[in-house]
């Protein structure tokens, strides 16, 4: 197989990679928003519980969470498809990081914004929805881009739980023919093609918003 053929073969797995990213975001975005906001507003024991949930998803290595959920949950009677487990684990892991971005952005807002809203007689929930969140989300866009890249890269793991993503295709091709240089360069190139545009968009947003590095620490 020539290098372009290998690359095309690897991209046959793109549909699965994209699906895991998409379903992962369905878990990540709500989790990040809900838990970030909860952590910002709660105090005492409630805040401790919220933090514990976030830390569980953020502090465990994602590869281990994936295996535990894939292999161990069926024993407790919870059976999920490989796709569901992957989206859930990768999504909530990224969502855990995202919640910290949400909380940090809310905390970074000038308190005058909330006070102005209160002075205008708006309810607290409306202030959050109409004043705080729009500004916070704009502020954390660069971080979110970094997290999307982390999620895309994290999907390479699903090849270990039998999903046919790009990494899985590369390993399949590696079984057909001995050409490690072509196949694994192709795999790196494939992810680079997918992720680099997001990196560029993220950097552009970073310049516009003027916020530093995100809080994603690699997976």
């Amino acid at each position: 197989m020539s290098f372009p053929e290998i690359l095309v073969g690897i991209f046959e797995g793109f549909r699965i990679t994209a699906a895991v990213v998409f379903y992962g975001l369905l878990f990540a975005v709500p989790f990040a928003l809900v838990f970030g906001i909860l952590q910002h507003f709660t105090r005492g024991i409630l805040r401790f519980l919220v933090t514990a949930v976030i830390e569980f998803w953020r502090s465990s290595p994602v590869i281990i969470l994936l295996f535990v959920f894939y292999y161990a949950l069926p024993i407790f009677g919870v059976v999920m498809s490989a796709m569901t487990v992957s989206a859930l684990v990768l999504g909530l892991n990224i969502g855990g990081y995202g919640s910290q971005a949400v909380r940090a952005a809310l905390q970074a807002l000038d308190p005058g914004q909330v006070e102005a809203g209160l002075a205008l007689g708006l309810r607290r929930s409306r202030i959050l929805l109409l004043i705080e969140l729009p500004q916070a989300i704009a502020m954390m866009m660069p971080t979110l881009m970094n997290l999307v890249i982390q999620l895309v890269k994290g999907t390479a793991l699903v090849s270990l739980v039998t999903l046919g993503d790009m990494t899985f295709r590369a390993k399949e091709i590696a079984q057909i023919e001995y050409n490690p240089v072509g196949i694994y360069s192709g795999l790196l190139l494939a992810y680079f093609i997918v992720c680099y545009p997001v990196t560029v968009i993220g950097r552009w947003l970073e310049r516009r918003v003027g916020v530093g590095e995100g809080q994603a620490h690699g997976l």
Partner: protein, 219 residues
């Protein structure tokens, strides 16, 4: 099949035997990542062309999954006649992957140092190398202790990836037990709990170090 608590407790010592491999890999990879990352960042600043080249290298490293990079090193190096022990390949892989992130951390740390420090070093007749090592690096380290510490925690959390290239760290030893006994749930849950405990305690340590450094700085 039920979750067998007695079996789970019984295998704890076996898995803990692999703890030193996990910690060794994490420490060596952290040192390697810092060394490579610092070299990348210093080279990036050394000239226009080198700047573009290093920018690309850093972006490439950050835009591809660590799993794909590990496969690349593990399968491609032997093709060129370089056969290294799996553990060396693993440490090399994690070092390279996280060097891309640490380079960005060093960039922010160096950018934060006042221009006058460079001028003063020049006025004192220090060479470029001496300026970086004796004037810039020590000040940079204090600026970046927190984000750098966070990345070291990430390195620790990435060590289970090495199980896929047969390094006998904790996840690998968990899988060994699983394939000997056909029980997957218990070893994986045990490994997961140990990692969660490790990651959280080291993160706390980093936070403590951070407050100490800030206190020392503000005195």
């Amino acid at each position: 099949m039920d979750f067998n608590h007695a079996f789970a407790i019984e295998i704890v010592p076996t898995i803990l035997q692999a703890l030193h491999t996990t910690l060794l890999v994490a420490v060596l990879s952290s040192i390697g990542a810092a060394a490579i990352g610092f070299t990348l960042e210093v080279t990036r600043r050394s000239g226009r062309l080198a700047g573009y080249a290093m920018r690309f290298v850093i972006d490439f490293i950050r835009s591809t999954p660590v799993l794909a990079q590990l496969y690349f090193l593990f399968f491609v190096l032997p093709f060129y006649g370089i056969t290294l022990p799996a553990m060396v390949v693993g440490v090399l892989g994690l070092s390279i992957y996280y060097s891309g992130y640490l380079a960005e951390v060093f960039k922010a740390g160096i950018d934060a140092i006042h221009r006058g420090q460079w001028d003063a070093a020049k006025a004192l007749g220090l060479s470029g190398f001496d300026t970086i090592i004796f004037v810039i690096a020590p000040q940079m380290l204090r600026n970046i202790a927190a984000p750098m510490g966070n990345y070291f925690v990430s390195v620790l959390k990435a060590t289970p990836y090495l199980a896929v290239i047969a390094v006998p760290e904790m996840l690998g030893s968990g899988f060994d037990i699983a394939s000997d006994t056909f029980r997957y749930a218990e070893p994986l849950v045990v490994v997961g709990i140990i990692f969660l405990f490790l990651a959280i305690s080291i993160a706390q340590l980093v936070r403590l170090l951070e407050t100490r450094l800030n206190a020392a700085h503000n005195r």
